[in-house]
Symmetry: C2
Subunit: 309 residues, 2 copies
Amino acid sequence: MYEPVFAPTPIQPLDTDVHGNAFFLKREDLLPFSFGGNKARIGLEYMRDLAARGCNHMVAYGNARSNLCRVLSNLCAGAGVPITILSPADDDGQRREAYNEKLCRSFGAQVVPCLKTGVAESVDTVMESIRQKGEKPYYIYGDRYGKGNEAIPTAAYVPVYDEIRAQGDYDVIALACGTGMTLAGLLCGSKLRGGSERIIGISVARDAENAKAHTLAYGNAWKKDLLCADDVEIIDDFRRVYGDYGEDVENTIREMMRLHGVPMDGTYVGKAYNGLRRIAEREEWQNKKVLFIHTGGTPLFFDAADRIL
Amino acid sequence: MYEPVFAPTPIQPLDTDVHGNAFFLKREDLLPFSFGGNKARIGLEYMRDLAARGCNHMVAYGNARSNLCRVLSNLCAGAGVPITILSPADDDGQRREAYNEKLCRSFGAQVVPCLKTGVAESVDTVMESIRQKGEKPYYIYGDRYGKGNEAIPTAAYVPVYDEIRAQGDYDVIALACGTGMTLAGLLCGSKLRGGSERIIGISVARDAENAKAHTLAYGNAWKKDLLCADDVEIIDDFRRVYGDYGEDVENTIREMMRLHGVPMDGTYVGKAYNGLRRIAEREEWQNKKVLFIHTGGTPLFFDAADRIL
């Protein structure tokens, strides 16, 4: 199997002084496989787990804009592993075109529409039909209810904490929090090393309580009882309905592209970065070194380019 | 002025054995500013030259798909320097939408349509109107005929030769050749260091003689009489009308994305990489270490995504 090799991604200073603090970006979007992003690392962990378990058919779940489904489909194409994606419609029942899904299809993924209300049944149906072809399916999220495989994606980001520490020390590390996988990995890394920085997950859709429960589940699946509730900080003031974003976020995206040449999408990275700047303002941060992790999503930037640019 | 800082871009092995040779990619497309590419380095040199000459209004020339115009507009937006772009229609007289031009407009560039047949007059008109506003214009290509500024872009790629040598030794270094700027810089770097590798420019549009003349002009403007005709190898068998490409190139682009997660466009990078593989085949290369320089163009990949994917 072809395995991309990831050198440490660059950290760049932002010359704009954000309310008297020094802001830095960790460019995970520049990971050199399939437009990069955190899901490039996480997808690779799922591929390794599939191989370790002797499976030969990847089953994923994600909508048309899913970065994880894009990366997994690309890894599967490179490895000659078939992949089936359960793809829910948006909350309004619509299916919208997106570059990520086009890429998935181009990579040979089989995209199966499903309902958000009947995921467990859809998983069963897809897994059974794969087994009947004599193949051994691997569902990335574990059982039919999406439980049991939380350790795998967490493992992708535990070593990234060390990577960051080798590049510099920061008072704050912040990132978009969707599922909580990436945050969980970094929190586990920090806990293991006795890190003293504040790590903030800026929730893009879930409320703080729900996001925290998921993050704890991911972290403690990787290492039992490593994280406790107090280790996890989620700020949910800037979330919106998944995929939605407002004028404030659009302005931030335009500004980051104009002034720094850095593309951000509105669903995850732009929303979280906009939130971070407002947190720095309302909490009146002073003289802090702040690292924001750019977790990728270049195809989503181009989805929205006509609207935002 | 905000100046992006460029660490060495990664070189990645391609696991596919191309006719018994080891192929590598230098990922200039991952330069961390404005979707990167060779024009990120070259645009930065033009910005420095503008500042050195005390100018305060950038004037560029390039069509809607120009990577250089995108990067320049982005650098100008970051630096607060106004930019005017002379934009010719395609050879068939049509103007097509492209993400690069949308980005230029979003960065605040003024895009002035012009005719390919009347560039000198259009340059005069634009320069004069800028002067009349009391600003000091800088035309990237020199005089009204596009002569006189060839040393600047060449300077961007002379140090990249040393960067490559510090990363490894190669029997062949190959890249797309449009204007010849990037090739000229690498050739100057190699000549200065006594490099023994074969450096091939794979012309995307010009015939070999024309492309060679331009490459020599760029190189020798940087350092007088450094390059002679025998130093410049251009292969023009794979060129097509600018912007056009065929099924062969499309297949290569799909394959590179599917198997390696690397996006390539059809106008420059995909066309040249496809050509390189066919050169290796027809010349029956054996056991060579071959470095192909991925010179960027991510927005062009998305322009063509609906067609190619």
